[in-house]
């Protein structure tokens, strides 16, 4: 992995916990030294503290994994894991499937459990795959309209209408 500030090999993988949000940095030894000493950061990170240096070691091995995880994007709503970590809110229902394993530790940490045991919808657990597809299609629609690809847009619109039609027919 390359250093975020120069093109040298990144050997320091820092997770800054001093701000409101987690900040992951991947730096070469020189840039890391500068960052740790001055608190300077291209990402407007808050001034680094002792807390962070203590965090540095245990996270060193997992930083690559974290970076990889951060880059993951939900194919349905397009949110990245990094965006989720920053904002604390997921992008769509499918995130619970797509980021399933990645969310597991968080769920265990918050709830002490990972299995719902309460109420279920009265109509039974319906297959929501077509609804999920609607989320993806509407997003795609917005993109092609922005690109002024109206032919594609009308195709997508037909697909959306078809799924919506199926939905109301079954009710």
């Amino acid at each position: 992995m390359k250093c975020q500030k120069c093109q040298k090999q990144a050997t320091f993988h820092i997770t800054d916990l001093t701000g409101d949000d987690l900040l992951a940095l991947h730096l070469c030894p020189d840039c890391a030294k500068g960052y740790l000493e001055t608190g300077d950061s291209s990402e407007d990170a808050p001034v680094i503290s002792d807390v962070m240096s203590k965090q540095l070691k245990p996270l060193e091995q997992t930083a690559d994994d974290l970076r990889e995880l951060d880059a993951k994007e939900c194919p349905i709503c397009g949110i990245s894991f990094y965006e989720f970590r920053q904002g604390g809110r997921l992008g769509c229902p499918h995130d619970y499937v797509f980021f399933g394993e990645d969310l597991e530790p968080l769920l265990i940490n918050v709830h002490g459990d990972n299995q719902h045991v309460g109420k279920q919808p009265k109509r039974g657990i319906t297959d929501t795959e077509s609804q999920t597809e609607l989320i993806r299609l509407r997003r795609q629609m917005k993109e092609v309209v922005e690109q002024e690809d109206y032919e594609k847009a009308s195709q997508i619109r037909d697909q959306i209408r078809q799924i919506e039609g199926e939905g109301s027919a079954s009710e």
Binding site: I76, C77, G78, I79, G87, G88, R89, L90, G91, C92, P93, Y96, V97, L103, L106, L107, V110, H111, G112, D113, N114, Q115, H116, V117, G118, K119, Q120, P121, K122, R123, I125, T126, T128, Q131, T132, L134, I135, R138, R139, K142, G167
Partner: protein, 358 residues
């Protein structure tokens, strides 16, 4: 307009009736729900938000059984009116202050409210006066079923109801009891009680939810966990501990009556006197003094005022209500004068010799 009518009415949670209503103001349950075919709010486009709002409105109001709900377009309201709904606990502060298409549906008695496009697509809430979590659950469960028959919720076989924030996933349920604990505050035991509640995974908040200070010695006790426990377990988790809290508060009140009687009488009568005679008074001070008066009534120290009346004063002296009732927009100083006038008129009327006619 509907909000003006509401201003002169009393919402369910202020009625001052129901079990343990001297200490428990209200019981509340909310469910977080999302539609399966839209992204969560943070990833919604303006069009998505508008579509969610109109879909929910159409599907629910077309149905005869949900006809008792009135939809209010929150995006369309003046700031004052939004604040008014916050004070009545019908919408959250976040809902009031956010942007984009959003709405709230409420029933005539203000027992239920359904926020559309808050943090989740739907935030369903039922309120009951006094301690009645089971009653609240029966109502909200039924309402949830009726909504679910019209809309497809995002639900996962293993994780339950899917929510924008993973801290709400599973049941999507928050059980919340609003308690009035002035004696525990006076005897400086409140922190101790909170710490023990936190140890059993319960959260304590102020009157208006997250981050608000405890105004008027009112505290909301609610569950933190939403996944891995059934709805009835969560209700028990909160419901079982409330009688213990009530017991602490009663013991603290007994202590004040038995050991600090003179101080207590002094505090209560001074509070009452100040409320009756102030020329200008802030919202915070009003809450503080009303809290003393409320306890004084419960302990039989004030005979010419009833709990429901005091409950009403708590809400009607708040900024938006005060302005609604006086039909004018007032700045802070003007409100302080208006608030004193209002209290004077209300307490004088009730405290006078003609009070017995009511």
């Amino acid at each position: 307009m509907i909000l003006d009518e509401m201003a002169s009415r009393c919402g369910e949670w202020l009625k001052g009736c129901g079990p343990e209503s001297d200490i428990v103001m209200s019981s509340r349950i909310r469910l977080a729900r999302n539609l399966a075919d839209y992204p969560f709010i943070r990833r919604c486009t303006d069009i998505d938000r508008a579509n969610i709002e109109s879909t929910v409105r159409e599907r629910l109001t077309n149905k005869a059984e949900l006809k008792d709900l009135t939809f209010i377009d929150v995006a369309d309201l003046q700031t004052l009116d939004r604040q008014f709904l916050v004070e009545r606990q019908l919408i959250s502060r976040e809902h009031a202050n956010s942007d984009g298409a959003r709405a709230v549906a409420i029933d005539q008695q203000e027992r239920l409210s359904l926020m559309v496009n808050e943090e989740d697509h739907l935030r369903i809430q039922v309120m009951k006066s006094g301690l009645d979590l089971v009653g609240a659950w029966d109502q909200i469960n039924d309402l949830d079923d009726r909504i679910e028959s019209q809309l497809t919720y995002a639900f996962h076989p293993k994780l339950g109801y899917l929510t924008a924030c993973p801290t709400n996933v599973g049941t999507g349920m928050r059980v919340s009891v609003l308690v009035h604990l002035p004696a525990l505050v006076i005897t400086q035991q409140i922190e101790k009680v909170f710490r023990s509640l936190q140890k059993i995974n319960l959260v304590v908040r102020g009157l208006y939810g997250e981050g608000t200070q405890a105004m008027g010695d009112f505290y909301q006790v609610s569950n933190q966990i939403t996944l891995g426990k059934s709805e009835s377990d969560l209700i028990d988790q909160v419901g079982d501990v409330i009688p213990v809290v009530i017991d602490y508060e009663r013991k603290a009140r007994d202590f004040l009556i038995n050991e600090k009687q003179n101080d207590l009488f002094e505090q209560v009568s001074r509070a009452y006197g100040t409320l009756q005679n102030a020329q200008q008074i802030s919202s915070e001070e009003t809450m503080f003094l009303l809290s003393r008066v409320r306890m004084g009534i419960n302990l039989g120290l004030i005979g010419d005022l009833e709990i429901p009346e005091v409950n009403q004063l708590f809400i009607r002296t708040q900024p938006a209500h005060l302005q609604k009732l006086s039909h004018s927009e007032l700045d802070t100083d003007e409100r302080n004068v208006e608030r004193a006038n209002y209290l004077h008129s209300q307490l004088k009327l009730d405290g006078g010799t003609e009070a017995s006619n009511n």
